[in-house]
Amino acid sequence: MSHFSNAVNKVPGLRFIADALELQSSAGRQHLMKQPFMLLPEEISLQLDMIEAFRELLQTGDSKIITDLKHALSEIHDITGTLNSLKPDFVLDDVGFFEIKRFALITDRIKQVLQQLNFTAVEFRDTIEVVLLLDPDKQRVPHFYIYNSYSERLTRLRKRYADLVSNIKSQTDHDEADDARIQCIEEEDTVREELSSYLLKYKVDLLENLALVADIDLWLAKAGLAVEFNMCKPEIAIPSKGENAYRDADTESISSEVKRRSNLPNPLDTYYTSYIQLFNPSIAEALKQRGRQYQPVDIEFGDEPNLITGANMGGKTVLLKTVALAQYLFQFGFFVPASHAVIVPVEQIMTSMEDEQSELQGLSSFAAEMLKINSIIIAARAGKSMLALIDEPARTTNPAEGQAIVNSLIDILDANSVRSLVTTHYSGITSTCRRLKVAGLRTEEFTSHPTIETINDHMDYSLIELQPVTEGGLSYEDEVPREALYIAAILNVDAELLERAACYITKERISSKH
């Protein structure tokens, strides 16, 4: 997932974000796909600061001038190919000159619009010479032709050709006209050579400006998204495993560079990722269209396993997906869907969730899940700083072994200080970890029998931290909630099934007492 293009179709919710971005140019769209997954706080912070600047522009700037800016951006074509073809002894054709002229004129316009808006966060390279060169008659329209003003000789030759053509009477006249035409073309080529070699001097400046235009397009779109969905600028928390966090196999120098620049604090300190009112934009949007509201959740976690329990339909899976999405957005340089966020950058985000496990590989859901978990453990042992999000591990096997697997997984995550969220329905998880519980149904609110449509309104998705009552154990009240049958009843599941299930539970309780 080193680039946005790798992640966009794999991370749930990211495609929605990509589609919601109002990018104006193809250069901007390509730039988005090439966004790197950033690790360095300085890099991330630079991106976030730019988005903040553009957000302020969107909120306070004259909307008519901002429309002008967007319009100018939309006219930008990606001319990287043409610019890269500028080399010594290479002669551009008129199409190439036209592209460069139009680009230089539009960047000039963008520059002026930004000046009108008093926006100073970006600086263009000066390419006014390019405009002057390709617009010798100062028409300031993006049309191009080898103008007569480039060469007096060309003017004379063209006039001669025109005169000859209008007076053709014999084959000799024809041949003479053809010769004149060839002379015109030769002179035009001389002009093209001169123009090309002059433009070569501005190649780097033009390429820089093109990159900047793509940046502006993307920053503006990200800022627009932040306004539309009410996203916040996350603070960057510096990770506890300072050196490991930035260790890269072939760029060992980065970690020393990071240390120098970011004044890493005591590595024994634990840094927390925390979100206040975290929400999932695509789900929130879908709910809004059905006239319902997304219930945001607060969550905070450090570099240790966090076990989350709670009723079915309690939003545990959505929470994990949203945490993963927010972390990706942060490291791809976006604002995040929360009212406040402090985030620790990680080298890797690893997930194990149901819908990504593929039957196509010929693996059972259990096998596919185990292999995923295995790769998380390998990465943890290798000392990678990561965020691991594991949804109901071992749920597809028998509870006795499943419970044992979850206990051991948490032990390993704990021993390796893995920043992780693990959900489960299994009771009897005794290993050391922080425990959170989804508050669940507010049954006291019920005035009538809830239905499948209204059940979400009565669900309290907030997380409650549970404290162990005794060393290594939990009190009965803090056990995994038993709301499955209750929720099944609300879903109008067959009554006989529910009654029989209830009987079995009673029998089990009785037999366990004996």
Partner: protein, 351 residues
């Protein structure tokens, strides 16, 4: 030819041929020559690829398009680079065709250019609209080999049809074929009471459909009842007509076919002996792909085919020379055609 003055009354003109070598390019050159000194700015483009030096199919020489100064041309990057004319580039499209992006340019001398253009009619329509920026009076679209699609009134406002010896070397055959196409071009428009002002005034408009509502339907088969209300028959394909026989005419005998009208459909409806006087509506003549026999059999059973948009046919031009080299008698051909079609017919080689 008197029709040339008519051209400037329309925003767009398509020049289409019933087959290859029907003299489309010569017709275009003639029109351009006649309009050169009209004082109006013209734009010129093509649909798909055309303008090859020699005809790709038969290898016969093809006349090039001769351009004069101050024309707006839209052609592909590839053909623009091969031009033998001075031209100022005005715009380059963001989208690309098989021959590269489309270049809009203003000619600055006399010369020749190979014409190519957008690959689809939607893009063509957008280009025609964009020509307003260059104060163009009429955009002329050079149709591709045996494609009538740019002649659709949904794309261009007027049309010149070219036919000739290349379609058939036998004059009666050629006349029969051309007459059939002409018959389709001249199909009557549906008369919608809804589009009439008195009904709009009387407030009955809401429940009834007009041309615009029907044009917006992009797929499927619809029934129009006596009150001009539209009903979706929910028949996914004409291949499934047999399974929906009973539903077909439960709302009356007028159907709107959004896609192509095929032999299969006409034959199927003709076989339903239940109803007489069935009216089938299609968008325009370019949506009709039926054999003349099928069409005649359908209409002589008392049924009708109507169109939402009718075509403004400015002229029919003939090329008496076939690619194999034989020449038909021009007078006999022109007279024969104009008697059969009751419209003026011009021999493009004579002018």
């Amino acid at each position: 030819m008197p029709f040339v003055d008519e051209i400037l009354k329309y925003k767009s003109l398509s020049i289409v041929g019933l087959g290859k070598n029907t003299g489309k390019t010569e017709c275009l050159n003639y029109v351009l020559r006649r309009l050169e000194h009209s004082g109006h700015t013209l734009a010129l483009t093509s649909i798909g690829v055309d303008g090859e030096m020699t005809d790709r199919v038969t290898g016969t020489a093809k006349p090039e398009i001769e351009l004069y100064k101050d024309l707006i041309i839209i052609t592909s990057e590839k053909h623009f680079r091969q031009k033998s004319i001075d031209a100022e580039i005005l715009d380059i499209s963001a989208k690309s065709t098989a021959l590269g992006r489309l270049i809009t340019a203003r000619t600055l001398s006399r010369g020749k250019v190979m014409m190519s253009g957008p690959a689809d009619t939607l893009w063509l329509k957008q280009l025609i609209v964009q020509m307003d920026a260059y104060e163009v009076t009429t955009t002329i679209v050079d149709g591709a080999i045996s494609r009538l699609s740019p002649g659709s009134p949904a794309v261009t406002d007027s049309m010149i049809l070219n036919t000739g010896a290349a379609v058939s070397a036998n004059i009666p055959n050629l006349i029969r074929h051309t007459k059939f196409v002409h018959e389709l071009i001249k199909l009557p428009e549906v008369d919608f009471p809804n589009d009439k002002q008195d009904l709009v005034d009387s407030g009955m408009k809401d429940s009834m459909v007009g041309v615009h509502e029907l044009l917006e339907l992009s797929s499927g088969l619809y029934a129009l009842d006596a009150e001009f209300k539209v009903h979706d028959l929910k028949i996914p394909s004409v291949f499934l007509l047999k399974d929906h026989e009973e539903e077909l005419f439960k709302h009356g005998n007028t159907l709107y076919v959004t896609g192509a009208l095929s032999d299969r459909m006409l034959d199927f409806i003709r076989m339903q002996k239940v109803l007489n006087d069935i009216t089938l509506i299609v968008r325009d003549f370019t949506r009709i792909f039926v054999k003349p026999e099928t069409f005649r059999a359908f209409t002589s059973s008392g049924h009708k085919v109507k169109v939402l948009l009718s075509t403004r046919l400015l002229a029919i031009c003939v090329n008496p020379v076939s690619p194999e080299g034989y020449v038909l008698n021009s007078n006999e051909l022109c007279t024969g055609l104009s008697e059969a079609l009751k419209v003026p017919v011009y021999d493009i080689k004579k002018h």
